[in-house]
């Protein structure tokens, strides 16, 4: 077993500022303290002298423009779950260590990912792309990994002996023991874990309690860690509420990207895809706007999901500014990667028809893309329809023009010659669409071949109905 521990020191910050990207100096307030204290600040705020533990009043005095938000523990738990979903692609055993860490067993994954350096690179790259600051350590003991992730980012100790040596050199402050225990041990004159490890066990238990001893056993691998395995949920629902109201589709793209990305993470974890999801935009007074994004085949690529959702969203007109955005995906079917012939040359972008179809529909709307089908009817207007062709209707023998005018128009001036006809079309008296016409193929003054008709019994009043293009 080899446990990798990922710690996310900025997780509380990212969770609170999920809806809007923080611009300028921003800080997080601790909601537990009776006095309102700064819990965390971004680099800009730190640059202005804002520190952890400062009171809000002091921070405001340093920087009046400071943007503050309270901690949101629910959002933090959700975000940790999302990160677990993302980590699940690298390991079959992922465990949450609330509030801000994830443990994953990587010993079994090393061969698949070509060893730890490659896997570590992929983990770090992926997390940076998602904008999560993190620290990482690997040891054979989960608790030790957790300790080192906090104190020594990038530490890799595959051997038990190495772990013990490094632990012995660790200052007590970084041992992961409760603060009270650490200060009482320091008061007794202990500085490093090495000193504590040397104490006889009953003596140690008396001084720091059973739990403290148990912790020291766990980091040394002398006691087992109970790590509940995380499992990906069966559906996806996430909502981001905004502080203010966002007008128009452009500002909504940032939260939308976050939502589609966490959906994609979940899909990757489940080895599933999504074929249909709903975006719900809540307004102050008006009824919520729903945007359904449906795809021809299950998809799971974050970028593609975002593009599809974005184009749909941009086509939707919002009745009012939005206060919250929610993404719901009920069904997450099995994802089947497209099959391709090994020797088939890939042309161009190598898209298959469903993907192209989706891309066009997303931008142009569903109605813009259609097929043409035959209908068994003698009336020219009704001999075709928009829809999926079935192939059960056989075409007419008579010559028909390639272009049909949507509506017949008067043909002026009169044709110069009649090339064929008349062909009488008389039908539809039973359904109200009664038609009685004599169709001719005629040549116009410009030399065009046209399909025109005269109402039965007349010799004038040519109506143009098609072109033999």
């Amino acid at each position: 077993m080899l446990w990798a521990c990922l710690r996310f020191p900025g997780l509380a910050f990212s969770a609170a500022f999920a809806a809007t990207p923080e611009a300028g100096p921003s800080a997080l307030l601790d909601h537990k303290a009776r006095q309102r204290l700064i819990a965390m600040a971004n680099d800009e705020a730190v640059g202005l002298g804002i520190r952890r533990g400062q009171s809000l009043a002091a921070a405001r005095a340093l920087c009046p423009a400071l943007e503050v938000k309270p901690r949101d523990t629910d959002a933090e738990a959700r975000l940790l779950g999302e990160l677990a979903a993302w980590c699940y692609q690298f390991s079959g055993h992922v465990s949450l260590v609330p509030p801000h860490a994830i443990l994953m067993e990587v010993g079994a994954s090393l061969r698949l990912f070509d060893g730890w350096p490659v896997l570590a690179e992929r983990l770090r790259q992926g997390l940076l792309e998602q904008g999560h600051a993190h620290t990482l350590a690997v040891t054979p003991f989960a608790a030790a990994s957790w300790v080192f992730a906090a104190s020594a980012d990038g530490m890799v100790l595959p051997e038990r002996e190495g772990v013990r040596r490094m632990l012995e050199a660790l200052p007590l402050k970084q041992s992961g023991l409760p603060t009270a225990t650490v200060s009482s041990l320091q008061a007794m004159g202990f500085r490093r874990l090495e000193d504590v490890f040397r104490l006889p066990r009953p003596e140690l238990t008396r001084r720091i309690g059973r739990e403290g001893v148990n912790w020291l056993d766990r980091i040394r691998g002398q006691a087992a860690d109970a790590l509940p395995a995380w499992h990906p949920p069966a559906n996806f629902q996430q909502k981001i509420e905004f502080d203010g109201e966002l007008d128009g589709s452009q500002p909504l793209l940032f939260p939308l990207r976050r939502l589609t990305r966490s959906l994609a993470n979940l899909l990757a974890a489940r080895d599933g895809g999504v074929q249909r999801f709903t975006l719900t935009l809540e307004h102050a007074r008006d009824e919520a706007t729903r945007v359904v994004v449906a795809m021809a085949t299950p998809q799971r690529d974050a970028e593609r999901l975002f593009e599809l959702a974005r184009t749909r969203l941009e086509r939707t007109s919002l009745p009012a500014p939005a206060r919250a955005i929610e993404l719901d995906a009920e069904e997450l079917p099995i994802f089947r990667p497209p099959l391709r012939d090994l020797f088939e040359p890939v042309r161009g972008d190598g898209l298959d028809w469903p993907t192209l179809d989706e891309r066009l529909r997303a931008r142009l709307g569903d109605a813009a893309l259609r097929q043409i089908a035959l209908v068994a009817d003698h009336r020219p207007e009704r001999a075709w329809r928009h829809g999926t062709p079935t192939g059960t209707v056989s075409p007419l023998r008579a010559r028909r023009p390639l272009w049909l005018l949507p509506r017949p128009l008067p043909l002026r001036p009169n044709p110069t010659a009649v090339l064929a006809g008349p062909e009488r079309i008389e039908s539809g008296w039973w359904d109200g669409g009664d038609t009685r016409r004599d169709y001719y193929i005629v040549r116009t003054v410009e030399g065009q071949q046209a399909w025109a008709y005269l109402p039965v019994g007349t010799l004038d009043g040519w109506m143009l109905h098609g072109w033999f293009a």
């Binding site: 890939v346 042309r347 161009g348 972008d349 190598g350 898209l351 298959d352 028809w353 993907t355 192209l356 891309r359 066009l360 931008r363 142009l364 109605a367 813009a368 893309l369 259609r370 097929q371 043409i372 089908a373 035959l374 209908v375 001999a383 075709w384 329809r385 999926t388 062709p389 192939g391 075409p395 007419l396 010559r399 028909r400 023009p401 390639l402 272009w403 049909l404 005018l405 949507p406 010659a417 040549r443 116009t444 410009e446 030399g447 065009q448 071949q449 046209a450 098609g466 072109w467 033999f468 293009a469």
Partner: protein, 209 residues
């Protein structure tokens, strides 16, 4: 003439970098037969150039300009390759299409405005899953045409656009430009430009009537 070429000169002329203009050495162009024997004979490669843009300039609707491309499109759909009509000016009439041999299951129509039409056509060409993409444009600038030409190359698809003959004098990046005109009750096809063909002064091709 070959008799008096010295062996050294023959060696020089065999160099692949030297191209001699002679009847038996046509540059190779991959093409899709137009289905019109007399037109195939006039085009390099014997048909619509593949992975390139062809432009058909016509004077009026109903001169047989669509008849020119139908056999090739029908052949594509019968091979289960997709054919896309982008912004056709009228209703493509199913009975006539079926009679021309088009397998309607592989024909798609995109309704779009002029800017969206150019975008859709480019997407279809570039995707690599369409056999031919046919577009109708009132007005399209050189840059867009060039994009279509490049997209056709990328996706190795056959691009065809129909425009009014009034644009015949404009510069165009298309690999093939045909003009369809009418006089004396007959339709003529004139090759205005063709990549890989040196002369365009061949007699007009007479179609229909």
């Amino acid at each position: 003439m070959n008799a008096i070429v010295s062996p050294n000169l023959a060696q020089v002329l065999d160099h692949p970098g030297i191209w001699r203009r002679s009847a038996d050495r046509q540059p190779r162009v991959r093409a899709l037969s137009t289905g019109w024997t007399s037109l195939d004979a006039k085009l390099p490669g014997g048909g619509w150039p593949q992975g390139a843009l062809s432009e058909i300039l016509f004077e009026h609707d109903g001169l047989g300009e669509l008849d020119l491309v139908m056999p090739a499109l029908a052949a594509l759909t019968q091979e289960h390759r997709r054919v896309i009509f982008v912004a056709p000016p009228y209703v493509p009439y199913a009975p006539a299409l079926a009679a021309a041999g088009v397998d309607l299951r592989f024909l798609h129509e995109i309704k779009a405005g002029s800017t969206e039409a150019a975008w859709s056509m480019e997407q279809c060409l570039r995707s690599g899953c369409c056999g031919a993409v046919v577009g109708w444009f009132q007005d399209i600038d050189y840059r867009s045409l060039r994009r279509l030409q490049l997209a056709a190359e990328t996706g190795d698809a056959c691009a065809m656009i129909f425009r009014s003959a009034t644009h015949a004098a404009q510069n165009s990046p298309a690999a093939l430009r045909l003009k369809v005109s009418n006089s004396d009750e007959a339709t003529y096809v004139d090759v205005l430009k063709s990549r890989g063909l040196l002369t365009t002064t061949a007699p007009l091709l007479r179609m229909r009537a």
